[in-house]
Symmetry: C2
Subunit: 144 residues, 2 copies
DNA sequence: TGTCCACTTTAGAATTGTTCTAATCTACTT
DNA sequence: AAGTAGATTAGAACAATTCTAAAGTGGACA
């Protein structure tokens, strides 16, 4: 990865984000953070992020991709979306929201919380606490 | 599995169900169908069904468990619930409905469709057809 | 600025749920 | 009863993810 492409301001911002999350600011983490948080919200899998990193000239092992994604997840910098038992999806949008999942393309699209009106939800069985509500709208490419 | 425990009526009913689905009525399929469809709606994983089969005295291979679950799924006798990337859950309730997922216990509970009021949903992006809407309410055991 | 050490990265092995292979068996047709 | 397409099986293969343990590095501190 070409670190000349990152301004000192970008590096400071990303380093700060890592430190605030209790993570050392290392070269692989900075580069991955730049890919993940550099522009808009993203959904990635370990594989797509790895390929993107390689395309950006960053030589990083698969283990580091997994370590980093899981550390970012634990630190609250990423969320996880479970829509497919074949792969884990990580989401840079950590606010409460929902998803379209295009099954043909294994692609996720955010749905802002206010576009899904869940006007009534059943109560959680007693003894259990609500941990989250996930709405997934599954889509298929329309036949031609 | 003790087939004396099944009345001829039960066997006829299950055989009919298999035939109607385009599947031959074999001993392993009948026994698994009995476990799955014999009483109320169920959520199983390959592992839980395999153990249940063994406990019922049915000697059936893991490959047959997977084959059967996937054939029943393709035939529309089962549905699949994706809530956990560690395991596939199969559901004998093939009507449209939602789920509580108790993460601590890897256990699913049905939520009837009418208990979740999705009063507004965003439109599918053009070029895509709606394939389904899944609502998962994640629960955790309440702290003592 | 150099030392040190806890933390990080890595290659490759291990793990685990699931699928595949290809040999044997069986339900159903004739 | 024989023939055959489909079913079952043990075990190998597969693929996403995690683990291991050895080598590397960030940053605190002298
Ligand atoms: Mn995970
Ligand atoms: Mn599946
Ligand atoms: Zn998202
Ligand atoms: Zn269900």
């Amino acid at each position: 990865m070409n670190f000349d492409a990152l301004t000192p301001e970008q590096i400071d911002r990303l380093s700060g984000k890592l430190r605030a999350a209790g993570l050392r600011s290392t070269r692989p983490r900075l580069a991955l953070a730049h890919l993940l948080f550099g522009a808009g919200n993203r959904h990635v899998t370990a594989e797509t992020l790895h390929e993107e990193a390689r395309n950006a000239g960053l030589s990083v092992s698969q283990a580091t991709i997994y370590n980093t994604l899981n550390q970012f997840l634990s630190a609250g910098l990423l969320s996880e979306v479970i829509v497919d038992h074949a792969r884990s999806y990580f989401d840079t949008n950590v606010t409460d929201h929902h998803h379209f999942f295009i099954e043909d393309e294994t692609r996720l699209i955010d749905i802002p919380l206010d576009e899904v009106a869940l006007s009534s939800l059943p109560n959680a069985p007693s003894g259990y606490d609500l941990a989250g509500v996930d709405v997934v709208i599954r889509l298929l490419k329309a036949p031609a």
